[in-house]
Structures are given as C-alpha cells and as structure tokens.
C-alpha cells in the first residue's frame, strides 16, 4: 500500500490533458463506472482511432475490469473513465457494473451470495 503522493511530474499531467483533450471528468454513461466494472470490446479497432482507444479495444477482447485496464495502461481511473466514455458512446465497448448484494427494491440477492460462497469454498 503506497501512501498518497503529490504528482510532481508535469509531463504526466500534460499527457493526460492531451489524451482527454482537456476533459477532466466523465459525464453521462461513464459517470457510473466502477473500478470493478467489466469492459468488453464490441468492435475491432478502426483506422484513425486514438492510440489509447485502440489499445483498450485490443485488451478488452476478453472482459477486463476498469482497474486492470488502468494498471496495464498506466492511466489513473478518472483519465481512463474519460476514454471509456468515448468508446461507450460510440458503441465500441460494453460496460458491466459489479453486482451489488442488494438490488434496489428487490431485497438481498441470495443466489449471488450462494454462488460466491461455493466459488470460495472451491479455492
């Protein structure tokens, strides 16, 4: 666990600015992205696509969480979320949020808990 640190690398911040074309945070469909949201590509990279968008599509042929994607690409969550918004809005990827133990208005998801439990017991 590393302690929070100040960003002292201006070139890193400049890179993020360029990557996101100056957008600082996601809105719309990506604002609900979670670190455990699974991303799956729906299309192949198309010519002329931003390099990072291509990279995301390549890596997400098999479902990958936003956290794993961030770790592999070396991008912080908020920057990655901006890039994922672009891909979601263009229909290039799908996002699947982690399943909560409770669904609003539907009570606890006992089947899910049982499934998690039997998975753990097989470890």
């Amino acid at each position: 666990m590393s302690a929070p640190r100040r960003s002292t690398n201006p070139s890193g911040l400049e890179r993020y600015y360029v990557l996101t074309k100056g957008r600082s945070g996601p809105g719309g469909s990506a604002s609900s992205l979670d670190v455990a949201t699974l991303i799956v590509s729906r299309t192949s990279p198309v010519p002329g696509m931003q390099h990072e968008h291509e990279e995301i599509l390549r890596r997400c042929r098999d479902p990958l969480s936003v956290a794993e994607l961030g770790a592999h690409l070396g991008l912080p969550f908020n920057i990655l979320a901006v890039l994922l918004t672009d891909l979601l809005e263009a229909g290039h990827v799908e996002a699947r949020d982690p399943i909560p133990a409770h669904h609003a208005g539907r009570g606890p998801d006992l089947a899910l808990l049982e499934e998690v439990l039997s998975g753990l017991e097989r470890l």
Partner: protein, 201 residues
C-alpha cells in the same frame, strides 16, 4: 453472447461475464495488501485515481482556491469464482481521509473486511467507523502477527466497541486458506443479515 443480458447486470441467470467486489480495509500496516496478495489468482496490481483537492492556501487576489493533485493508489487482485463470475478484492488506501474523496469507492461492494493488528488496535478505529458511517456490511479480521499476544476475541470486541452481530475472526493474512476463510466469514455474515432482513418484512 446474450447482449440483452448486458443491460441487466445482476439478473439471475443472465449470461456473460459478471463481477463482484469486496473491499479490504483497515489502518496503515495491518496487512491489507498482504491479504489481497495471498488470496488473489493474479499478481496484485495497482490502480490509481488522481484526486483534485482545494488546497488550504487561497489566493485572495484571484479569489479562487488553489487546487492540488493527489494520487491515491488501490492495490487489487481477483479470484475466478466460476466460469463467469469474478471476485475483485481492493485494498483501500492507508489514509482513511482519502476514502470519501474517491467517489463511490465502496458503492456496489458486497461488503468489506476490516483488518486489525492486535498490537495496534487504535490503527483500525477509523476504518470501522467509516464502514458504519457508509453503511457497508463488514467483518473484522484480527491479523495475527508472529509477535502478537494471544488476545481473546471478546476482549478485542470490547476494546474496539464492535457490535455483537458483527463477526470477529482471527486470521493470518499471509496464508491463502486463512484469508479465504475470512472472505467466507464475510459472505456468511451477508447471508445472515439477509435472513434477518427477510424475516423482518
């Protein structure tokens, strides 16, 4: 792939990949990353969030607060529970004051494990308080370090003021089976809570 199922994550019987998340919380140096590492199928990875905070210095000439960028790291691992269900484990940042800045860090989590170092009980006070404040179901795991005294669980429950219905278990965060047992204790606790919730309807 059933694409319609994608629009309804969590629908029972829905096909395609699904994920659940569990947070590993606790004070600095209580073994959060150790537990993630011991139980994960993959080598633990780190993901970061750049948080923008208004700094204490305010430039009165311009009238806007100066912003500072802080990077907070989350160590995480994953366990394949079956062909389509992944469990992601996230070790929370050691400094609890950053938790609320990371929007939705605990949102959507099944629950949390709060690790306690019995030699430094106070270091996990804040984590327990935060779980209660954010209404995250949790179990308390006493990480038994080699030089820890053998404290009775009830003594520690009293010292940390942990309510009776919250399980307190002992573990060795370095050991895969022991860490797995803590996760099992959490899921059983969630099931017990659900049973109570269903009965009281």
């Amino acid at each position: 792939m059933d694409l319609k199922g994608f629009d309804h994550p969590g629908r029972p019987g829905g096909s395609g990949p699904r994920s659940v998340k569990v947070m590993i919380a606790g004070g600095f140096g209580t073994g959060k990353t150790t537990m993630v590492r011991s139980v994960s199928d993959i080598k633990p990875l780190t993901t970061e969030e750049t948080l923008t905070q208004a700094s204490a210095d305010v430039d009165h000439l311009i009238g806007v607060a100066d912003k500072t960028q802080t990077t907070v790291s989350l160590d995480f691992g994953k366990i394949s529970l079956n062909d389509s269900l992944m469990l992601y484990l996230f070790g929370t940042p050691g400094q609890e004051r950053f938790w609320f800045l990371w929007n939705g860090l605990f949102k959507g989590a099944l629950g949390a494990v709060v690790l306690v170092d019995t030699r430094r009980l106070a270091s996990s006070f804040r984590a327990i308080e935060e779980m209660e404040r954010q209404n995250v179901p949790f179990v308390v795991a006493l990480n038994v370090f080699p030089d820890s005294k053998d404290y009775p669980v009830e003594e520690i429950r009293d010292a940390l003021d942990i309510p009776e219905h919250i399980p307190v278990v002992a573990c060795d965060a370095r050991d895969r089976a022991s860490s797995r047992d803590v996760l099992v204790a959490l899921i059983r606790h969630l099931q017990a809570r659900s049973a109570v919730a269903l009965e009281s309807r």
